[in-house]
Symmetry: C2
Subunit: 341 residues, 2 copies
C-alpha cells in the first residue's frame, strides 16, 4: 500500500496501466467497465490508496452522487432514527448523504434548502417543518431538485410523499381503548406544527362517532418543538380544571404523552390499567423513549423502516428516470400495548 503519493487521476491511471477516461468511468460506475479492467483498477487502488477529488468530480457534472436529508428537529430521537436509516440506505446505494436539521426554525430550513441547491444533489429527502415551513421556498426548491417528502406532507409538491396513515393510527388506538375501557378524550396542541396532528384528530373523531361516542378534544396552548413541556403544562392545567371528560386520554403523539405522564405524576394521578389507577394514557408514534416511561406508554408504532425504505426507493427510482406511479404512500401503524393503557 501507498508506495508513492498519487496526486491525481492521471497519475493513478498511469500506475494502473489504464487510460484516464476509463478510470473516470470506473469511478462513476464500477460496473460500466469490463471485469478485467475493473480488477486491474481495484488492484492498483489497494496498492496506491488514491481517491478522486470530489470537488473536481462534481464541478463538471450535472448530477452529483450527493443526497440531502433534511429533518425538522434532530433532537427528537424519532427523526434521528429515521435519518439514520435513510442515511444507511443511501450509502449502500453508493450515494453520499448529508444530514441537515432545521431545528424547528423556518429561516434555517430555508437556508438549508438554499445551501442544498449549490450542493447540486441528485435528490433530496425532506421532512419539512410543516406549518412552520415557507411554502413558496419549498415549492421553488422542489421545482429545481428532485425531492421526496416524508413524515410531513406539503400539498402538491415534490416527486412523492411517504408517511404514515395518521387517521388509521388514531382509529386503531380509539378502537383498542374503547374495547378495553372508557372511550378516550383526545389531547393535542392547539396549533400543531406538524400536519399529521390534524389527520390524527380527524381519525379520532371519526372513530369515536363510528363507535357511537362523542369526541372530546382537549387542545393545549404552546408553540415550538418542546412538546414534552407543552404536554406537561397543558396536562397540569387540564387536570386541575377537570377538562378530561373520561378516564382515558389518547395523545396526539408520544412526546406530548410523555409530558402528560409527568403532569400526572406531579398531580399524583396514577396512570395505568390496574384497578388502582385513575386514568389511562396512550400515545402515537412509538417514540424510542416510550418504552421507558413510568408506566411504559401504550402507543401506535410508526413503521420507520418501511417509510425510510420506500422514501429512498422512490427517490432513486425518480433519479434514475423511472416515473413513480403513486404520488403518496402511507404506511399503517401497529398497536403497541404497554401498561399505560
Amino acid at each position: 500500500m501507498e508506495d508513492p503519493k498519487v496526486r491525481n487521476m492521471e497519475e493513478f491511471a498511469a500506475l494502473s496501466g489504464i487510460s484516464r477516461p476509463t478510470v473516470s468511468k470506473y469511478f462513476n460506475d464500477p460496473e460500466s467497465v469490463r471485469a478485467s479492467t475493473r480488477s486491474r483498477i481495484e488492484d492498483a487502488l489497494k496498492r496506491y490508496d488514491y481517491r478522486p477529488n470530489i470537488y473536481a468530480m462534481n464541478q463538471n457534472r450535472k448530477l452529483t452522487k450527493n443526497i440531502g436529508i433534511v429533518v425538522p428537529y434532530l433532537a427528537d430521537p424519532f427523526f434521528a432514527e429515521i435519518a439514520r436509516s435513510i442515511e444507511q440506505r443511501c450509502i449502500d446505494a453508493g450515494y453520499r448523504p448529508t444530514l441537515f436539521s432545521s431545528h424547528g426554525d423556518q429561516a434555517l430550513e430555508n437556508d438549508i434548502l438554499e445551501g442544498l441547491r449549490s450542493l447540486k444533489p441528485a435528490g433530496v429527502l425532506l421532512a419539512a417543518l410543516g406549518r412552520g415551513s415557507d411554502r413558496a421556498a419549498i415549492e421553488s426548491f422542489c421545482g429545481d431538485v428532485p425531492t421526496v417528502l416524508f413524515d410531513s406532507h406539503v400539498q402538491d409538491v415534490g416527486i412523492a410523499f411517504v408517511g404514515s396513515d395518521n387517521p388509521q393510527f388514531s382509529m386503531l388506538a380509539v378502537d383498542y381503548l374503547c374495547r378495553t375501557g372508557e372511550p378516550p378524550c383526545f389531547f393535542e396542541m392547539k396549533n400543531p406544527s406538524n400536519p399529521n396532528a390534524n389527520k390524527r384528530r380527524q381519525g379520532y373523531c371519526e372513530a369515536m362517532e363510528k363507535l357511537g361516542h362523542t369526541p372530546h378534544i382537549v387542545s393545549v396552548e404552546g408553540d415550538g418543538w418542546g412538546f414534552e413541556e407543552i404536554g406537561r403544562l397543558g396536562g397540569i392545567a387540564a387536570l386541575e380544571s377537570g377538562q378530561f371528560s373520561t378516564n382515558t386520554i389518547l395523545c396526539s403523539n408520544d412526546r406530548l404523552a410523555i409530558g402528560l405522564l409527568a403532569a400526572c405524576f406531579e398531580k399524583r394521578v396514577r396512570v395505568g390499567r390496574d384497578p388502582d389507577c385513575a386514568i389511562r394514557v396512550a400515545g402515537q408514534d412509538d417514540h424510542p423513549f416510550s418504552r421507558y416511561t413510568c408506566p411504559p406508554l401504550t402507543t401506535v408504532a410508526q413503521d420507520y423502516d418501511a417509510i425510510s425504505r420506500h422514501a429512498v426507493e422512490t427517490l432513486f427510482a425518480a433519479v434514475e428516470g423511472v416515473q413513480s406511479t403513486e404520488k403518496t404512500k402511507l404506511f399503517e401503524g401497529k398497536l403497541v400495548m404497554r401498561s399505560s393503557a
Copy 2:
C-alpha cells in the same frame, strides 16, 4: 431580483462592474475589500442572486471553509443538542458545518473520517466512540486534519480536548446525596463505551472515601448504545438479587438512570425522597428527557453551552494559526435537584 441568469463569477463581476479577482476576494472574505466596492457587490448580489460554485471554489484552495462535526450516536438527544449548538456557532463564524453520526459503529466512524479527508475541511470537531474507536485511525486522521475532540477523550490526539470534569460530577452528586440521606451505591455498565464513565466511577469512589463511606459499585452487563435497556435489565437483576447496599443509587449517566427508573416501576419500588419512597435515584448529564421522567430525575448538568463554545473557539483559533495554550479544558457540572433524589 434575478433579471437574467448569472452563469458564473465572470458574468457576475461584469454585471456588478467589478473585476472577477476582486469579486473572488470578496467571497473569500467580504471585509478584505474596500467598503465602497463591497456595497457595489452586495447591491448586485441582491439584483442577480448569484452564488459561487462551491466545487470550483474548493477545488483549487488548500483550505476550505468546511467544518466536520462527528458525534458517536445522534439518536441520543444529548449529542443532537450539542451538535446543534456547535453547528450554529460554525455558521455564525462563516463556515459550512457538516454533521455526521457514527451510530455507535467503529466501521462507520472510520468511514466518516475517510470521507472527511476528501472534504478537505478547515477543521473537525470530533466526539469519538471511545472504547469502540479505532485509535490508529483517529490518530492518523488528527495528524492530517486539525481536530478538536470533545465529550470523549482520546489520549494524546488532536489539537485539544473539551469536555466535562467527570470526577467532579460524581463528587458533587455524592456530596449532595450523603448530605440528604444514605450514601449512594454506584450503578454503571461493566464495559462502558465512553471513557467518561471510568472517571465518574473514580470520582464516586474518591468522594465516598473522603466522606468516610465504603464505595459500592453495581456493574451491569450490556454492550452498545442502548443504555436505557441496559439500565432496565441490569436494574431488575440488581433489585431482585438485592445488590444495592443502600437505599440510594447514583447512576453513571442519565440514560442508565432512565432505564433503572423503568426497572423500579416494574418491580413496584417507589423512587423519590418522600417518606413513602423506597429508594432514591440520581443520574449524571441532565439529559433533555430527565425533566420528564417519573419522578423527575435529580442529576448533574453538563455545561453544553460552554463545551460547544470552547470547542469551536479552540478549533477556530487553531485554524487561524493561534496556538492553544491549554490542551485540555474541562467544565464543571451543576447539581439539578428534582424529586428522584
